[in-house]
């Protein structure tokens, strides 16, 4: 608890410090990281806590983004309407995809969730009315009635508050009756059924909750840069979220946040800062950012096999 407060105090002071140092760019980068943290945390609920390796989480993230984007283009810019709509559509998509996918296990589950997400990706790519490949530019951020979300500082604090709410909700959920059942299913699915839990229903509920939160993150990312690209729905996006979770710590509260911060921070560092001695060795290394990120990730995963969160917490037994 004290750790959680410390983390959020630091995150709350950060933009003020950046403002003083004339570094508003970093506030924008930080909001992006926090939004990805929400998305990765929602994936961690199914993947880490629920043990369901979903390779299609981008479907819910992207669907949430497109709902906000399409509604904005059609003139509905109120966050009070568009965001709940994004959450509802993502939850519905998760319900349909989950209901079908959760009848399979293991590799088949991974492949079928991937296939569904790719189907949705291609639907949006071919939706020329709403940008197709080029994506969709929004007239601006959502409105909330009494103020504007256009201010990057206000926007940052709103995203931070939502992340805090999501993490607190996850913490409550994990220790609730429902959370215990989900953990038990991950531990021993056959036995969970044999002591009387309708396993399928619990897994589906978990999948839908994660999809809904993923949709909320999507609604936020659409606002972040007032632009929605179909690449948000692409399988690479699902992979990126998965890497964040694995990097940060599968089935840990802070895993999503740590993973998002490290991955996006790394990408930024490699692309925007030229390291002298590295450039002397490989002059155009910055053109191969993905390779560099990959090497660093490989090192982290080898050195911290339980994710970076595992370096901070003692491992508990359940």
């Amino acid at each position: 608890m004290t750790r959680a407060i410390a983390v959020f105090v630091v995150l709350a002071i950060f933009p003020l410090a950046m403002q003083a140092m004339d570094g508003m760019f970093y506030v924008s980068l930080a909001s992006r990281i926090l939004i990805y943290a929400i998305a990765a945390t929602s994936l961690n609920l199914v993947l880490g806590y629920g043990g369901m390796v979903s390779f299609g989480h981008a479907a819910f993230f992207g669907a949430g983004a497109f709902v906000v984007g399409i509604m904005a283009v059609e003139g509905v810019r109120s966050a009070w309407i568009a965001w709940p709509a994004a959450v509802a559509v993502a939850a519905l998509a998760a319900f349909v995809i989950g209901a079908l996918s959760l009848r399979t296990r293991g590799v088949y589950f991974i492949m079928i969730t991937l296939a569904f997400a790719q189907m949705i990706y291609y639907i949006f790519v071919s939706l020329k009315t709403y940008g197709g490949d080029d994506g969709l530019s929004l007239p601006g951020r959502s409105t909330i009635g009494f103020g504007t979300l256009g201010n990057d500082l206000v926007w940052y604090y709103l995203v931070l508050a939502i992340l805090a709410a999501v993490l607190y909700g996850l913490q409550r959920l994990v220790h609730s009756r429902f959370g215990r059942v989900i953990a038990a299913i991950r531990e021993n699915e056959a036995r969970a059924e044999a002591i009387g839990f309708p396993v399928y229903r619990y897994k589906l509920a978990c999948f839908v909750i994660a999809g809904a939160v993923g949709g909320l993150a999507g609604a936020l990312i659409a606002n972040q840069s007032s632009y929605v690209s179909p690449s948000l729905l692409h399988w690479i996006q699902s992979g990126t979220l998965m890497i964040m979770v694995i990097l940060g710590g599968v089935g840990t509260l802070w895993g999503g946040l740590i993973g998002a911060a490290v991955l996006l921070g790394l990408e930024h560092l490699i692309a925007d800062y030229r390291i002298g001695w590295l450039a002397a060795l490989a002059p155009n290394y910055q053109d191969h950012g993905a390779l560099a990120v990959g090497i660093v990730l490989l090192a982290i995963v080898m050195l911290a096999p339980e994710g970076l969160a595992g370096l901070f917490t003692r491992r508990r037994h359940a």
Partner: protein
């Protein structure tokens, strides 16, 4: 209370259970014996709902449960234990039992209140731990228990669902003499409040516990009746018991 009516199970051309008709009466310990590969575990799987039954009918308390999913059979009062220990290995004994208590007491679609605050679950789990002789091990992680203790927890998980009928699949598998005696005593203690369908290879235990015995050979019932009758049944002696009883 449990009635099997001409139940069969085939895997392609292989017959696992073949036209099995069997009754378990309320209050009895009914033993199911037979050589390895006779179809005993398949039958337990069919009764518990883990394996689908396409041929024949299964009735429990008069209701047809042939196509009911496994979790719904547990809710109806029919629980099982496994031949190969299947427990929540990373949880403590108490957490294992509390989870099974939770399964039958109220909805678990509750997302906010910590389970830890529900003392009723843990009080009952503690009582169960005492029942199965693990009261001193209640905070031990299940994976680190001795084999006999894990087997007791295996049975405890089934009992925690408060079944009317419990299916025990070789509860004494892999046990030494002392552990077997403890399991025998446990089954003696529970038999007054729950009916038992017992699959077991330990003939000594079977003849001590069983009110009636059914013998399965190659998936078929070859005999069924009181222990004394089974012991003297020539077909049974020839098919299965022969060597062991002669010894």
């Amino acid at each position: 209370m449990l009635e099997l009516r001409a139940v069969s199970k085939r895997y392609g051309g292989v017959v696992a259970t073949d036209d099995v008709t069997l009754d378990v009466l309320r209050g009895e310990v009914h033993a199911l014996i037979g050589p390895n590969g006779a179809g005993k575990t398949t039958l337990i799987g069919q009764i518990s709902g883990v394996l689908a039954t396409e041929i024949g009918r299964i009735l429990f308390n008069g209701a047809d449960i042939t196509h009911l999913p496994a979790h719904a059979r547990v809710a109806a009062g029919l629980a099982r234990s496994y031949q190969i220990t299947s427990i929540f290995r990373r949880y403590s004994v108490l957490e294992n039992l509390a989870l099974a208590v939770q399964a039958r007491s109220g909805s678990s679609f509750r997302f906010w209140r910590p389970v830890r605050e529900e003392s009723a679950l843990f009080d009952e789990a503690r009582a169960l731990a005492a029942d199965i002789g693990l009261q001193d091990r209640s905070s031990t992680v299940a994976a680190t228990l001795a084999h006999g203790e894990q087997r007791a927890l295996e049975v405890g998980l089934a009992l925690a669902t408060r079944p009317q009928l419990v299916l025990l699949d070789e509860p004494m598998a892999g046990m030494g003499p002392q552990e077997s005696r403890a399991m025998l005593a446990l089954i003696q203690r529970i038999r007054s409040r729950v009916s038992v369908l017992l699959v077991e290879h330990d003939m000594d235990a079977v003849f001590r516990l069983a009110d009636r015995i059914t013998v399965l050979v190659n998936g078929r019932v070859v005999a069924s009746g009181a222990p004394a009758a089974i012991r003297n049944d020539p077909a049974v002696r020839q098919a299965y018991l022969g060597e062991e009883l002669a010894a």
